[in-house]
Subunit: 288 residues, 2 copies
């Protein structure tokens, strides 16, 4: 496995693999890898002949008051984990390699970022879409892997790829969880032991929404209201949003919305912001 | 030569050419071809094994009060001209093929569009950048050809390609002119015989700026002021802007700006908006 820092070098190695007839799989990350990332690399390894992992903490997707400077970095540990999964190439550029002086081009998906996290992190998804498009151009993958934990991100990237006519298959893989249900996240390491104990509440409540709505014990509206109340009871949890949107247009669910619905939340535990989500099925047809 | 309307078909034919080892050249146009366009096709033919011309009047780059509906269309005539130049493929999609329902992704180059035409056509260059990026993804050319007549457009596209790490060589070719100096433009056909007679004034004045500044008869500031006055004397010409910017950053020229300078203008002749430009060299080194 090779670790490279420059665009020209990563291009050269990928061209070599492509000329050898290999399919290129790509897993973009911000490092601080956990089992969720590793499941993406594993899928790429299984489906593609040449797997590229990028490690880049993208300044463009952090707000001025967010944790860009503090974001955990441990390239040695990440490298060891990626190598163990059998990936072929790590691309770990400096920020000036990606955003050189005079940089000024940004991609905007306009509607999908309006609700959920996008509402609370202005500019975040523009930063995500821009860096992912750049990485797609650099790596030119056939397949790219993202986790469902960042559902809105996944759906925005799928939309961007569709709208901009990129020939890349974007694959979303299930959220990997701790035994107690907490979604794996690089930010979990910020949690105090107390906060860590409360963190599984988030997914527990999401599962409860799914169960009560799908078995028609409660309407979605009622279930969300109750969940909000439940979560706010815990003094360590500060809910930022709990929202239900349809999976096709990411629009707030109305009374007559049917089909797959994304129920997503963000909450602060202390100063750590965690997100999670679940997909539920509303409608007369079979409940998945 | 083939004419196709769908993205899937154009992709199939280009993949075929690429698999045969051919270099792909691309000339994006809005149709209503003139000798300027034909010079681009000729360059592509000379340098590439497979030349693609797109014809698409891009709604996203027209303002609400601009001439989108009236923009001249003559696919038969365009096809004949392109075939004569020996291009291999015309891509002439409907607008729903490029912007299907739910479309919502746009690219923005942030600084380069701030002056010149960008100031008077808000959103124009976002529309241009977006459609060109989409066409680049669809056609995946090695080389793409644009005219210097639309200098700001050319420089914005070059910047986008650089910033987004596209592996495409963007080539700018000289403005093709009528015998009397008027820059070829699809919009020249809108001009009344009277307006047509006044139109060469634009380039005549630009050449005068170049001459007087490069021979140090006048400062750039003086020359621009005089030109503005000159052009405003003609009752048929309504100058929108006459501006000088450095060619690297497209920033308004200051007293100490040296090197290549783009002097550009836009003017209305009746309701027809024409643009033109010239490059001058300011500085102590040899004047080009």
């Amino acid at each position: 496995m090779q670790i490279v820092k420059t665009i020209s070098e990563v291009r050269r190695l990928i061209l070599h693999a492509r000329n050898a007839g290999k399919t290129i799989g790509f897993v973009p990350t911000m490092g601080a890898l956990h089992k969720g990332h590793l499941s993406l690399i594993r899928a790429s390894r299984k489906e593609c002949g040449f797997s590229v992992v990028s490690i880049f903490v993208n300044p463009a997707q952090f707000g001025p008051k967010e944790d860009y400077q503090e974001y955990p970095k441990d390239l040695k540990r990440d490298t060891r984990l990626i190598e163990k999964e059998g990936a072929d190439l790590i691309f770990a550029p400096e920020s000036t390699e990606i955003y050189p002086e005079g940089y000024q081009t940004y991609v905007e998906v306009q509607k999908f970022p309006q609700g959920l996290c996008g509402k609370y992190r202005p500019g975040h998804f523009q930063g995500v879409a821009t860096v992912v498009l750049k990485l797609f151009h650099i790596v030119s993958p056939d397949r790219a892997y993202f986790g469902w934990k960042d559902a809105q991100q996944l759906l925005i990237i799928k939309k961007m790829v569709e709208d901009l006519n990129l020939s890349i298959k974007v694959i979303g893989l299930p959220t990997v969880r701790e035994k107690d249900g907490l979604a794996m996240s690089s930010r979990n390491q910020y949690l105090s032991p107390e906060e860590r104990k409360s963190a599984p509440l988030l997914y527990k409540n999401l599962k409860n929404v799914k169960r009560t709505v799908e078995t028609k014990q409660k309407s979605l509206k009622e279930a969300l209201k109750e969940t909000q109340k439940n979560l706010n009871k815990n003094p360590l949890v500060k809910l930022q949003y709990l929202e239900a949107v349809d999976l096709k247009k990411l629009e707030t669910v109305k009374k007559d919305t049917r089909g797959k619905i994304l129920v997503a939340l963000a909450a602060f535990l202390g100063s750590t912001r965690l997100i999670d989500n679940i997909i539920i099925h509303v409608g007369s047809r079979k409940i998945s």
